[in-house]
């Protein structure tokens, strides 16, 4: 309690300074933060900021067609690059439209800075035109948020926002700026560093705990690694690979962790959880040591908590102490950043005298091979009706497994996760925690802006794509050559599947009637539309789409309307109680 630094007074200013308007300060701060792209949509309260953006070139602005899309695009930009994504929206409806995007990023721990305009300070609280309590509305779905009432606080608040977004457990931070603050002038100092007495994330793992964990792992007979989004967010894939290979242990990922360990490697047993593979779920249920890294024991992963991994001692590494022992009691908790902790674990590994008993490991791998024989992802492609799984498999093959894949929410999302094998991190971009339909297309835009030369695929459904379809216009304006693959089953398929399994086939409101002609729709926006009606069409359509390198192509695959995602663990069942094909 000795440090005098509070959130609003901080830091040694640089010596030379310039007088700028608040709006110019915003733009300069973004530049000084190394921000190249801002995704946004203008309105009255942010007009000074737009004016300032227009007068410079360092920070480029991408104009979306809906504020939700701005935040999703910034989110995907961040997931692909590892940098903080930035979105800019106006007050009132601009801010409320952004909320779904912010909540999506919050649930998946994505670092964002969202700048929102606000009515002038003197009008706050007066029900002024386009006023909402943005800070109040976003408080529960941001890591932190600020209302900046004095232009003198603007630069340091923005610095703090970037610092908070990117460190510890990452997340979105919102900075609400009243219009008059952007018009006022002030000397500009952008602080180099931030230190807050109330915020000190733990980075290094406790050495005693790390040693204890490694001893537990090395003496296991049936160990498995269960890793999540934290490995990707923490850029710890390389360290993970090293450890998992040295130990020769099986590894499974959550939906958010895909790509951290190569899917093509035999030690990878697939995703776990509700739609995880038979072998992954069985291995978790039978393991004696479970090593959870940057994963938060979500209910989609654990199934019935009381029956989850009943024989396991659990090691859990997470940067956020509140993720540890939240749902499942763990035996060796380690708080720290995964890149750091995995490095420590690799070091301890080198010092251990003995690794896992080879006979036990051989038996464990033999058991896993038995489970694998169940071939739980099997499907049958005939000559009449396109199976959605077949489309994803072909997309995987024809893109060489090297596309950036975004998805929406539903069955297609699960098939994308199951059938597109990710060998690298930051190649799979989806909304796991909030499950936001409408994420896929704007996310693909953000990914394409981040990597203009990459093949960006948006695997979507006929329901989800209509939740942000207006962004086809943004794709045209910025010539974003992304490829949409719509697994068009004429249903809100995931809803239909639940109704088939748990509501006795009563398909209330899950049939998507009056679908537009997606090919013509794509053409209306100036893009190319292709349709596949039969299995024989699938490969030529994908090849044609990929050949059109500089064009946005919408592929409409008419797939089996009644296909289900398997395996499935019904909500509340034990992980081993899977519905299988």
């Amino acid at each position: 309690m000795t440090s005098p630094t509070t959130i609003h007074e901080r830091l040694s200013p640089k010596t030379e300074s310039e007088t700028l308007t608040g709006a110019e300060i915003v733009v300069r701060a973004l530049r000084d933060e190394g921000v190249e792209f801002v995704f946004g949509y203008p309105g009255g309260a942010v007009l000074y900021i737009y004016d300032a953006l227009d007068k410079q070139e360092a920070v480029q602005h991408v104009l979306v067609r809906h504020e939700q899309a701005a935040v999703h695009a910034a989110d995907a930009y961040s997931r692909v690059t590892g940098k903080v994504g930035v979105a800019l929206v106006t007050s009132g409806p601009g801010a409320t439209n952004a909320v779904t995007g912010i909540a999506t990023a919050y649930m998946d721990s994505v670092p964002l800075v969202v700048i929102s305009g606000q009515v002038p300070v003197a009008l706050i609280g007066n029900d002024a035109f386009q006023e909402v309590d943005t800070v109040g509305i976003t408080r529960p779905c941001t890591k932190h948020n600020f209302l900046v009432k004095d232009v003198k606080d603007l630069a340091s608040t923005l610095k703090t926002a970037f610092y908070l977004a990117a460190t510890g457990r990452p997340g979105p931070v919102l900075v609400d700026i009243p219009k008059d603050v952007t018009g006022k002038q002030c000397a500009y100092h952008y602080p180099d560093k931030i230190s807050l007495r109330s915020y000190k994330p733990t980075v290094k793992g406790h050495p005693g705990q790390v040693r204890k964990a490694m001893q537990m792992i090395a003496s296991a007979q049936r160990p498995i690694f269960y890793t999540g989004g934290g490995v990707i967010l923490g850029n710890a894939s390389e360290e993970l690979r090293k450890l998992v290979r040295s130990l020769n242990v099986p590894i499974t990922h959550t939906l958010m962790g895909l790509g951290a360990y190569p899917a093509s490697d035999p030690q990878f047993v697939g995703m776990l959880g509700m739609h995880g593979t038979y072998e992954a779920n069985m291995a978790v249920q039978h393991c004696d040591v479970l090593v959870a890294l940057g994963a938060r024991f979500d209910d989609r992963v654990t199934g019935n908590l009381a029956k989850f991994a009943p024989h396991a001692k659990i090691v859990h590494v997470d940067v956020d102490p509140s993720s540890i022992s939240k749902n499942v009691r763990v035996d060796v908790p380690i708080v720290g950043d995964l890149q750091q902790v995995l490095t420590e674990m690799n070091q301890v590994l080198d010092e251990l005298d003995a690794l896992n008993d080879p006979h036990a490991m051989q038996a464990w791998w033999a058991q896993i091979a038995e489970w694998r024989k169940r071939d739980c992802l099997h499907y049958q492609q005939d000559e009449q009706i396109i199976k959605p799984q077949f489309v994803v498999q072909k997309l995987f093959e024809l893109t060489g497994g090297d596309a950036i894949v975004t998805s929406d929410v539903g069955q297609h999302q699960m098939w994308a996760a199951q059938f597109y094998g990710f060998d690298k991190p930051r190649r799979w971009v989806n909304s796991g925690g909030l499950g936001t339909m409408g994420f896929g297309l704007p996310a693909a835009m953000g990914a394409q802006v981040a990597e203009p030369d990459a093949t960006v695929l948006c695997i979507t459904g006929d329901g989800s794509i209509q939740m942000n379809i207006q962004e086809l216009s943004t794709c045209q304006q910025y010539k974003l050559p992304l490829k949409v693959a719509c697994l068009n089953n004429h249903y809100l398929g995931m809803v239909r599947q639940w109704q088939e399994f748990f509501y006795e086939d009563r398909y209330a409101m899950s049939y998507v009637d009056a679908l537009p002609d997606f090919v013509k729709l794509a053409e209306a926006y100036g893009h190319i539309g292709l349709r596949a009606d039969t299995p024989a069409d699938v490969e030529p359509v994908i090849r044609e789409a990929l050949r059109l390198k500089d064009r946005m192509v919408f592929m409409d695959f008419r797939v089996d309307a009644k296909e289900n995602v398997y395996p499935m663990v019904p909500a509340g069942a034990a992980l081993s109680d899977m519905i299988l094909v």
């Binding site: 309690m1 005098p4 609003h8 408080r139 890591k143 007495r197 109330s198 956020d320 509140s322 022992s325």
Partner: protein
């Protein structure tokens, strides 16, 4: 079990609603909550009286610590501590009740701080159960109005939390 949690947080607009919002969003129970600046004007101290299992309390403490403006969190129930609450209570006091109420107030070490020909207002400090006991000792029909501050608490011994 009942827990008394002390929270030191930045004395800033919004910090209080973050804490209150956390409790309601996560479904944690709040029995009472008090907050005021400390001797350091940049820091507020909040006392929250809550109930929950050991697992829930662990999450409560971790979630509080996670709030960016929270500097320190301590569960005072883990060790010896002193808890005090202030109550102002207005009671009917006419005829023979006047003497009776005054006597009762003396027994509880209360102070009569306002008087009319029909009522007394009494100030009483102590642990919550003492204040409860005082209310129960009165005939329910006599109580006109009660205001309680909620618990403030501090650990025993020479050290700060």
């Amino acid at each position: 079990m009942r827990h008394i949690i002390s929270i030191l947080l930045e004395n800033e607009a919004g910090a209080l609603s973050r804490v209150a919002g956390l409790f309601s969003a996560r479904g944690y129970n709040i029995e009472a909550m008090t907050v005021a600046p400390t001797h350091d004007a940049s820091i507020s101290r909040m006392t929250v009286a809550t109930r929950g299992s050991e697992e829930i309390m662990e999450q409560v403490l971790k979630q509080l610590n996670k709030l960016v403006e929270v500097i320190r969190v301590h569960d005072l129930s883990e060790g010896p501590h002193i808890e005090r609450e202030l109550m102002l209570i207005k009671v009917h006091a006419v005829g023979p009740d006047r003497e009776e109420v005054k006597r009762l107030s003396d027994i509880f070490r209360g102070r009569i701080i306002d008087v009319t020909d029909r009522s007394y207002t009494i100030e009483l400090t102590g642990p919550g159960d003492k204040l409860d006991a005082f209310i129960h000792a009165l005939d329910p029909g006599m109580v006109i109005e009660v205001v309680r501050s909620g618990a403030s608490a501090i650990s025993r011994g020479a050290k700060a939390i």
